[in-house]
Each structure stands twice: as structure tokens, then as C-alpha cells.
Symmetry: D2
Subunit: 421 residues, 4 copies
């Protein structure tokens, strides 16, 4: 018969509490550095679990104003769980990681999506919208998310780690800091900043390390904001549970870290804190392919997507070109970022016709399973990018209505307690 | 019983011959201008067909060298069929176009994909690869394409018009010429050029018009290379047969033109002439939504995709960031175009490990139903874009092989008769 | 350049006229018999086309009453095109057939779905409904079908041959006639009949054969109504264009015949003439696997489905059990046929609540891309079968409305000129 | 910030221990009867969880022989959790149930599939195979299942409750007992039995009820084996997490019960205990549609499937007809059950060619996401049913190999300790 004895649960290698500030917990770190020791070691083939706080480390609450978003301390992000070493992994190898599952904590069945202040975090339209803090809280009901701040919508999550990667080598870290430093130097006064140099303030490694090691990590450690050659904060929604990912290995043990779990996200993650951010538990197994970097020409991770992806076959698709039609009309040269933004602005304008506020539309497109494809990148001077909204996530009909849309009022998302939007 | 009398075929409003140079045929034009008169008029609700030559107007042949691509005359493109006026359409309206079907000519069951010379047409990697002309001829066997120039591959087409749009108003045309002119002026010596000003040489309108009208069109008419507010050369593979598209109307009658039919294309259309270019027949029906531009905030076309899209659920996905890892390592600032290119270069390098030449890989990724998603555009400074190759289009296994790939030789695509690649 | 000379169309091996009675045309036959000679021979690897009349051979017209259905002569069906011999095929081999394309004739862009009279053809509910002739004419607009007889519906076709198979050997034919004869004998008075013995009346082979050969075929030839070990009239909607099918070979040359082309069909084909029946053109290529019957344990065809299948992800699903809940409440013993019928009757009752007539609902479920799955066949005594209606084929919302459905009137399908339903 | 206080977990209304025999636990019952009182009551709109033991109540262990399956006590099944009353539900209403999530217990990450003895439980091929007990244990690794007893296979689960339904009214219960009793009477000596009458032995209700009430329930209560008008043991794999189901309400409160959780199942559930049977936790929310039975002609449940369903687009499909080709060649009359069995036998024979044993193939087809469609039910005398195996669940290529399959040995599943198969 079924017994405790013949039922072996998968071990949890890192345990965290999603309600305690991250910098009071073991097994968490928020910078990339080769000198951060592995907190645990696994053998290839083992299935294991890792618990993660939300990316901010419990700074954001389940409530109805956005003051916590306004005041978020971004020197303390992203809070990652790890590193996990894999026995036998060596530089030049490929670390195969199966993302077997991702779930929220049972005790914390909610997540959030935020618009950050122009001066504190920004986001894709921070300047265009002169962004003030706003947020939506999402209730996680099994496979679905709904929000009291964006009524009329329910969708299945494409749950994924926003951030996952192997540790950089000393050389790779130096390359990052050099190239990003040059970019920062060239745009010194940009708001929001174009990139983030190493920042000792807020740096954290939840291990008992010698002070000089901690200091070195804090001083040199790469910030976690961008994705890089090792993976990192790529925010690829389809690197979801069920995926198999092939990472390059740069140091002995590979030293895998993970965090920034997302219940759902739209392609582009528009508002920066654009996914449904959550704390939760991720299940992995790993294997190693010796010499995989050479075998697969592996300059960056490659992955096989999950067989599980929400099917919303009916969509409405918006086009965008590299002309700032929503702004000053400027012609850009084959710029897919501009094209994505135009498609997004077309979509936001459409959702406003339906009755959502601009902030609700911005949050919804960030968090829902929106698909954005590169259409064409060769028709000079106009890059073309599309953005597709699945119609099945709405409980009302959003297809173009020949009579125009009836006036509807969906309220507003959570905004600052001083009412500024 | 079934009889000729009770069987009414859909009328063909424009007939062309795919084997005759386009500029000897009626109903074709290759510039955008409001003064090009409609060649036919339809009522809303009618189903009708339009025949199209391939975009070059028969310049490329079904043979085994790329000299025709090398010498292609690009002043004569794109050859569009139209314009078709729709009764009742007025500026401010939305023209709804159902793309009901697209088929190649029965007498011409083939298409081509080309890499253009750096100095004559270019393409996404024209400079990186110092591109020399190359091509692949595709045999169109019902829903499938195969190529003797890229063995080991067969895929179902996502057939679509690369180019479809309504006619611009005089004002809109002026806007285009102004903004693109400014871009050209700012990059005067660029090879390939960043954009294309009006060019009387090669301009063509296949109608009996007064010489001064023809001259005006040739002198002012916008080139067809980029997509713009009216649609145009967007090269969106999912605007495929079965789609419903909503176009803004800028002049009375809307004046719809179409051409550049593609049997298949990958997201991005990489090599510029990257789709499987074909001549063929497109079937439409239309309707009008009065005041649709205002109702739907319609600054550019929006569309509903077809329920028919090839299902290749197994994929291998490559990531790309806005760092030129394949080149000089430069850090770009949140540039999705750079990120797409890196993902593409990762994919090309991978296909070369399998045994394809760089040219074959470049052509294949351009033409096959490759999916490219914007991953995230908010993780400064790195935009992240992914590119997914469906594994089911290969008759061999392309998944990462722990033992590395066996050496295979797939020959080479069609190259220049002088052998230069 | 593109020329006629470098463009070789796929050859058409059998040409027919869809407006001429089938028994006046060459290359058509309507019985299965090993002595029907091949009308053409192909080499493995060739792509070729075959034209087909509709299954009745032009008996049904594009009009608004069902008298032609009422009076249809079923001794003359199904009209098949063929046989085509494949060089090198021998008994014991496997004939691989790629169904590359299927299109209606350009001159006949319509099809029909029929309910047959109880006493002339029947159908799944012939007895329950005491069926009288009715039909719907479908306009084929590219990938879509619509019907003036069933308003409010539009769907993409899953185009397939209802009937395709290799020729039986003499022994296999004898087996068929014996086993079906025994069934007929056991249900001698059934209306509609349970099976159909060889029937010289109406038998036809469109070749110049010796009278004694024709007579033998007419006397012994198996009727085409059921599917059998060689394929035949399986009416599997997913054996659609793009599929690859593996047939057992029973005689030298394999002798492939095809007909009964369907623009679309629901799982089950409910009303017997339940698909959208059409005349048209099918494109094939073939290959041979020597000894394939043994290699693959091939007692019946197996196939690989097309990558192209309409995606209607939103569905409403009806359950059915092997209890005649809609009839006398009788408990059947694990009977999946009864379960399918109950699911179908639940669906019909639901569509009637929406406003369709029973005849419209019956025709629609027969013709639309309805999915029917075997749920479970092991929970004694109740087989469970489901039937799923895609909601995206309606231009109105058919999901369960908490307020009930508003009264709507969709008219009626084509019925008999005497008004009897 | 995120706190315990602002994070409200969904309440668990019934808690069970999967390692304790079911008949020692509260909140479980194994018969259907209107007099079983609700163990808990919910308001419409609440999200809540229910824990379930596996259907046998811990009788089967994670080990490597099938003696527990051989000796299973089937008078004690199925063990259901419930009933749950919904406030306001009355006979004639429709109870809407959202199945929001289903997960295994963290402490029990495994499930099983069993072949039962011909004389104790049976299964679809119990007689054909003279079945002896066998089983496969599946490791549940996040979204995937693998089995040491069926190597070479990994697939994503379509997790669903095999059994879910509302309580019958007294009248409905009487109808069931009458009609099934008549069937039993007509097949008195059948092995396995055709149906199961009320059976006091093994009957269990985990509530403190008066002895006479318990006795009445045990004496009259319907067995849980078949699905019926209220839902019940329908074993529909697509009624999976994410589905919305509409149940008819027969008694006040509706009294919903659920159990028999399946991690995965193939259409048909072939071997009876054919799913991956597991213990676990199901999450629900409910609502009520007043008068829904009348509004939707609701004789049985209808449901909307989940947007989440594993996508395995590449398949190999087997056909089956209502002729017993694998047995005595008998011709059946339009019998879809026979047709399903033939398709299944074709698939089993094919998998044996690849190297699996008959028992492994039988278990695999029962448990994997196999799709079985009703092809056609109108081509007298042959029903046609298809069975599709997704190729992507194998780590080796199972497509028809022109050279035949290489000899491979996948061992054997768990069999009886006496070695009898």
C-alpha cells in the first residue's frame, strides 16, 4: 500500500520566508559574482526544489495603494536563491536545466504588477507617460490570475523564472562591467539610467563569508537588472515550467541561481515590474553536457519550450513601426524597440476606447499572455513589430465593434495615496 | 444537380502573367500615390480575386545560380496589383479586408528566397557577411515547400501578402517623404541606404494615364520598401490567409493594393528577400466601418489572425541581447534590433554545427516558419529577443545532441556563377 | 527570369467535369474490385493531381430545396477517381501517400451537407428523427465556408478525402463480402439497412473493359460505403491535406483510388452526407516501403496528421453515456456509439435553445470542425464520449448565458419542396 | 510589504492522509446517495481546496510487483471527498464548478497505472489478454511523469478528476438502480461483470451518522464505477485543471463530491485503472445559475475545457473499424467500442514492434495523453475510431522507419511476484 516510507518527496535545498525581508535570510543573494560560494550542491539527475522570495524581497504588499512601489529600494534587487553547484560541471560545459515546476507559496496566493516612478525604476513608457507609481494586485486561483484592480479579465499563467543563470567567471564579470560602464559614461544624465554599475549599497549575500569577500562581491558584483551571456534577467515568458534550458558554464560547479518568479508576463514586460511578480517554489533537475559550449556554439542559453502554454487562439494584433507616430512623428532607422513601443501604444489606445484607464492597460499588457513578434527587420527604414492580445482573457467582447464600443468604466488600478497618476 | 449555371466562380478583377515583365502589364503599379486611379471597384461584401506577379516582376528564375539576384533591378519594385476601390469608403473610415485565400499559380509551382548583394539590396546581415548574391528555389507541393538547395527540410507555408495597404492621402504622402528624406540626409553615405526617396527611374503604373499624371506619380510616389501607417510592406507572416485586417482609409474609395505574395516567411524576414517569394492569386472580401479610425484609435492597421497556422509545437529557441557578442562586443542601449540579430546569429552558428552552410542557414531562417518574440524590453541596458526554430520541419533530429552533431554535408544553395560567396 | 520553360506544373492524371454525371466520365469507378485496371501509373516520388467529382456524381445542386437529396440514387456511389498504380508496389508493402493539397474547382466554389430520408440513405438519427430530406449549401470562400441555410456561422475547412484506399486482393474482397453478408442476413429487414451487398445496378467503371470483366466487377465489387482494411470510406476529418498516410498493399501496383472530397467535417459525420461534400482536385506524392505490413504490424492504414489544423481553442463540450437518456432511458452495455449519439443529442438540444432548428443543428454538427473524443471505455456499464463545438465559428456568443439565451430565429435549412420535415 | 496578514490562503475544507486507509478517515464516501449529508458548505464565489486519497484509498504501493493490484478490494472504491453543499443551489439549477487546480501531495510525488486481473476489475482487454495484474509506477516531477517501468517516455500531465459529480435525488438513484439492475440480469454470468449493483460490503461514509442511515446508504447507494447524469466517473481527460463545468442540480445544496484524481490519462482509459492514479489536492470555486437545467437543456454536464492542454503536435494515428480484425474477424454493426478497441490493438502491435511488451504498451496508451476521436459513425456497417499517439513523449523516434525498427529492449513493467503475466 501507499506509505510514507515508499513516498520520497523532492528535497528543498533552499527555504525562505516570503514575509521576511530578503536581506535577513540565508541562501539569497542580489549580485552576480564568481566568489559567491555555492550554498548547496546537487548531482546530475536529482530532482530538487528551491524557494524564492519575490524579486524585491517582500517590499510590496497586498493592498490598494502604490506607495510601496513608489518607495521601493532598488539597490536591493533582484533577490536570488542560490547558487547551486552541480557536480562535475566545468567551464566549457553546458548545464542542462529542466524547469519542472513553479508554484506560488500556498500561504501567499497573490502577486503584483507595478508601474514604477520615472525617477525610481522607470519602465518602457516612463518618460512618455511621466510615470507615477501604480500597481495591480493579482489573486492567484490555481492556474488563473484575476485582479480587483483590472476587472473583466482572467487568464492562465505562463509561469516562469524571470531570472535564472549560471555564475560568471572573473573575466566575464570584468567584460560586463567594462562594456556597461562605457554605456553609462556615454549617457551620464539619463533618467531613468541606461544601465547600473556595481553598487555596494544594498548588496547582499546570505552566507557567512569573510568581510573582505563580502566587500569584494559588493564592490564588483554585477547588478541583476539585465540578461547577459549566462542567462540572468531575460524575462522570457516562454522559458516556463516544463522548459529545458542549456546554459554555458563559466566556473567550476556552474553555480546556478534563480529568482524573480513570474506567474505570468506579456512579451516585452512593458512596465518593467511588468510580470505578475510572486514568491514561490521552483523545481529543477539538471544534467551536464561536457564541452557543450563548443558542440552547440553556445554563446548564450538556448532552450526547448514547455509543451504547456496557454492556448488562446483568438487574438487581436497591433502593428508598430519605427516611426514615433504616437509622439513627434520622428523617423527612426530600423529600430525594433521603437516599433514595439508603437505597437504597444496602439494597443493601449485601443484598450482605452474599451474603457480601461491608461494605467490599467499598461499593467494588463505587461502581465497578460500577450505575444509580440518581430514582423520584419529588413524593410528600411521601418522595423515592424506586432503585439497580440488574446481575446479569450476578457469576459467581454473586445473585437472591433462596427458600432464602436459602449462606454464602460472599469475603475482604476491601485495608485499613490496622494492620488497623483 | 450540380451545373455550370448554379456555380458562380469568384470574379478575378486583375489578371497578370507571372512570366511577363511587370512593366508590360495592366493593373500593376510600383509606387504609392493618391493619384493612381482605381483599376476596379467592388461593393462591400463581394468576394473577388486579384492576381499578382512576384515582387520583382519575373526577374528571378527557377535555376541554380544567383546571377539574377545579383543583377536585380530594385528601382522596379514592388510590383503591386491594384488599386481596388471599395464603394462607400471615405477618409476616416476603416476598411475591413478578409484575406480569404492565397495560392500560387498552378503553372508556376515554385518560389525563391534570396540573399542580396551588399551593394544591391542588402539584408539584415549584409554588412556583417559582406553579402554576395545567393538563393534557394523552393518547390511548392500543395501546402509544403522543399528546396533542392537546402536539403533535409520540408515545411507547411504560412501564406500571406508581404505587402498590402490602402492609398495614402496627399498629406500622408508628404509626411512620409519628409520624414524619410530627413533620415536619408542624416545617413547620406550608408550602404545599403537607410531609406529610399522617390525615384522616377523604374516607376510604373499599368494604366493609360495622362503623361503629366504619370510623371507626377513617378516623381512624388513613395517607394514600397517600408511598411507605413496604411499597411504597406509590413511582411508580417501571420497576416496570412484567413486573417481579417482593419485598414485606415485616407482617400475616397480606400484604394487597396496588394503584392509581394509569400508562400512562407520567418519572423524578421532576415535576408530581405527572405520569404518564399511567389506569384499567385489572392482572394478578398471587404466591408467598411464608418468612422472606424476614431472608433478604434486606428493609427495603423490591426488584424485578427487566421485560425490556420502551422502547428510545430517542438522548437529550439535562441536568445539574443543588445550586446554585439558575435561582433565587437559593443554594449547597445536597449536595442531590440541588435538583440534580434544576436539571436539570429546564435541560430545560424547552431545550424552550421549541424552541417548547413552559413548561406543555407541564413536563407532557411528567413523562409521557414521561425518565430521571433520580444522577450523583454525593460531590463536596461539589454533588450532580449528570442528566435525559435521548429524542429518538425527537419527530417533529421536537430535537438542538442549530448555527443555533438555528426558531420553532415548538405551541399550549398545557389550561388553566383563566378563562385563568389 | 521566371519563364514558362522553367516552371513545370504538377501533372493532372485524371480529369473530370463536376457538372457531368459521373457515369459518363473516364477514370471514375464506384465499386472496389481487384480487376479494375489502373488508369494511370506513377513512379515513387512524383507529385501529381487527380480530379474528383463529388461523391454522388453531380446529383445535388446549388439551390434551395432538398428534392435532389430526397431522390438521390445511392446505387451510383461513391464515385472514385482511379485507380492509380505505383511502380514497384507489391503485396505486403506499405504505400506511403502524401496528401499534399485538396482544393475545390475554381468554377464550383460551393459544397453541400445533406440529411437523407430514412428510407433512402438514412444517417445517425434517421430513425430517431424519422428523417426527411434536408440540406445546406455552403459557399466556399477561400479557407472558409458559410451557408445561407445556417446563418451566423463561418469556419475554416479541414479539407480531406472522405474516401481513399488501395485495391483489395481477391481474397480480401471475398472476406468483406462474406462477413458483411452474414451481418445483412442477421438483420434482414433493417431500415436503413445495416450493410450493402454487391449491387450490379448502378455499378460503373469508366474504362473500356471487356463486358465480362465489367460484369464481374459489378457482380462482386464491394460497395464503397464503409471503411475497411485498405482504408476506404473512413471519413476521418484529420486525414487532411498535409497528412502522410501508410496503406497496406494487397495487389501489384497498390491501385490507389480516391473520392468523396470534403471541405470540412465534424468527427462522426453525423448526418451521413454530413461533411461539406465537394468536387475538387487532390495532389499526391507516393513512396513505397518494402515489407511495410510486417515492419509496422499494418492491419489498417496509419497516418501522420497535417501540421495544419484549424485552431479553435475555445470550445463547449457535451458529454454522452451509453444510456439512451434522450429516448427510452435504456441502459446499454459499454456502447460508445450510443454514447456518441447522446452527446450529439445534448449538443443539438443546446443549439435549439440558441435558436437553430433541429435540422440546422444536425447539419451544422455534421459539417463543422466538431471534435468528438472517446472519454472512457472502461467504466461499466457506461461508455463516455464527448463532443466539442468550437465557439469561434459563430459570430455570436454561444457560451452558457446565466440569463438564458435571447430568442433568435435563424430561419431554416433547405427542405423538401413539399415542406415536409 | 508582503505579510502574513495580507496573504490569505485558500481554505482546505476536507483534509485527508494519503497513507491511511480511506475507511478510517473523515470526509470520504464511496457510494452515491442523496442521504449522505454535506460535510461542508460554501458560498458561491469562494475559492476552496479539497484533499483526496487515491481512488483505492492507499491500497497500491510504490514498489516493483503488482500483487497489491492483484488483490485490490474493489468493494471499497471509489473513495470520494465530499459532499460539499453550495448555498442557494436547488433542484433544476445549474452548478458551475471551476476546477482551478489539481496537484499531487508534496509528500507523495508518484502515481500508478494498473492492469487488473480478469476476475478482479478487468479492463478493456481483460478477456482478449486474459489479464493478470501488472502496473507501472510513475514519478511525478513537476509537470512531467516518467516511469522506471516504461523507459524512454516522459510526458506532461493533463491533470483532472476522474470522478466528479453532484448528488442524485432519490428518484434519480432509483432510475440508476433499476436500469443497471436490468442490464445485470440480462448478463448474469459475465466476467468481468457488465455492471455493479449496490453492495453493502465495503460501503463507507466518513461521517457520524445514525446506523440506520448508514445502512440505507450502504444498501441503496449507487456504485461509483460508471459516469451518469450527474457526472460521476466519466474519466474525461480534458475536464482538466482550468475547466469550467456545468452540472445539473438534483438535491438542495447540489452536494458535490470528487475523487479519483488523475495526473494524466489517455482517451479511453483503456486498462480501467488506466490513468496515472494519484492522491492530491483540488481547488474549486462555484457559482449557481438558477433554472440552468431548463436554460441549457442540461441532461448531463457540459464543460468548457482548460486553456492549458499539452501541445504535442506531432502524432501517429491508428485507425480502427467495427470488425474484429485482431480476433475472429467478426463484422459488428456500427459499433464504436469495437472500433476503438481495434485502433488500440493496432497501436499496441506497433509499440511491440518498437520493443515494448504488450503490458507496457497497454499501460502506456492508458496513461499517456493519447487522443481518440470518433472518425465516422455513419458508414454502415463500420464505425471508424482513431487513436493518436503523440510522438514527442518518447525520447526516441517512433515514426515509421523505412528500414523497420531496430531491436530494442525496454524491460518489463511491474508484474506479479509469481511471474505470471
Amino acid at each position: 500500500m501507499a506509505t510514507q516510507a515508499n513516498s520520497i518527496p523532492h528535497p528543498t535545498l533552499i527555504k525562505v520566508d516570503p514575509f521576511i525581508p530578503a536581506d535577513q535570510q540565508k541562501g539569497i543573494h542580489n549580485r552576480w559574482h564568481p566568489d559567491i560560494p555555492a550554498i548547496a550542491t546537487v548531482k546530475p539527475g536529482e530532482t530538487f526544489k528551491i524557494e524564492c522570495v519575490d524579486w524585491t524581497g517582500a517590499q510590496i504588499g497586498n493592498n490598494d495603494n502604490s506607495d510601496d512601489v513608489m518607495n521601493v529600494d532598488l539597490t536591493k534587487v533582484h533577490n536570488l536563491s542560490g547558487p547551486i553547484a552541480v557536480e562535475g560541471a566545468e567551464p566549457g560545459d553546458c548545464l542542462v536545466v529542466d524547469i519542472l515546476d513553479i508554484t506560488p507559496f500556498e500561504k501567499m496566493p497573490w502577486g503584483y504588477t507595478g508601474i514604477f516612478e520615472l525617477e525610481n525604476g522607470g519602465g518602457l513608457f516612463a518618460r512618455e507617460f511621466n510615470s507615477r507609481a501604480a500597481k495591480a494586485i493579482w489573486d492567484l486561483n490555481g492556474i488563473y490570475a484575476t485582479s480587483r484592480h483590472i476587472p473583466g479579465v482572467r487568464f492562465a499563467g505562463v509561469t516562469h523564472p524571470g531570472l535564472i543563470g549560471t555564475a560568471p567567471s572573473t573575466e566575464l564579470l570584468a567584460t560586463w562591467n567594462k562594456r556597461e560602464g562605457e554605456l553609462i559614461a556615454a549617457h551620464a544624465d539619463s533618467i531613468p539610467p541606461v544601465a547600473f554599475p556595481p553598487e555596494p549599497k544594498g548588496a547582499y549575500v546570505g552566507q557567512d563569508l569573510a568581510p573582505e569577500v563580502l566587500e569584494k562581491i559588493a564592490k564588483e558584483g554585477a547588478r541583476t537588472i539585465p540578461g547577459r551571456e549566462h542567462g540572468g534577467n531575460c524575462d522570457i515568458k516562454n522559458l516556463s515550467k516544463g522548459s529545458r534550458c542549456y546554459f554555458p558554464v563559466f566556473i567550476k560547479g556552474a553555480n546556478l541561481s534563480v529568482g524573480d518568479l513570474h506567474f505570468s508576463q506579456g512579451d516585452g514586460e512593458m512596465s518593467f515590474c511588468g510580470a505578475i511578480e510572486m514568491a514561490g517554489i521552483i523545481t529543477f533537475s539538471t544534467s551536464i553536457i561536457k564541452g557543450g559550449i563548443e558542440k552547440f556554439a553556445l554563446k548564450q542559453p538556448i532552450f526547448l519550450p514547455s509543451p504547456i502554454d496557454p492556448m488562446y487562439s483568438s487574438k487581436i494584433i497591433f502593428e508598430g513601426l519605427s516611426v514615433d507616430i504616437h509622439g513627434d512623428g520622428k523617423q527612426y532607422n530600423m529600430d525594433a524597440s521603437v516599433a514595439y513601443k508603437q505597437a504597444a501604444l496602439n494597443a493601449i489606445a485601443y484598450l482605452q476606447k474599451i474603457g480601461y484607464t491608461r494605467e490599467q492597460a499598461y499593467l494588463l499588457l505587461s502581465a497578460a499572455p500577450v505575444e509580440s513578434h518581430v514582423g520584419a527587420l529588413v524593410d528600411s527604414p521601418n522595423a515592424c513589430v506586432t503585439l497580440a492580445i488574446p481575446t479569450g482573457i476578457f469576459d467581454h467582447n473586445i473585437l472591433p465593434n462596427p458600432d464602436g464600443f459602449p462606454k464602460r468604466n472599469f475603475g482604476q488600478c491601485a495608485i499613490r495615496s496622494d492620488g497623483v497618476v
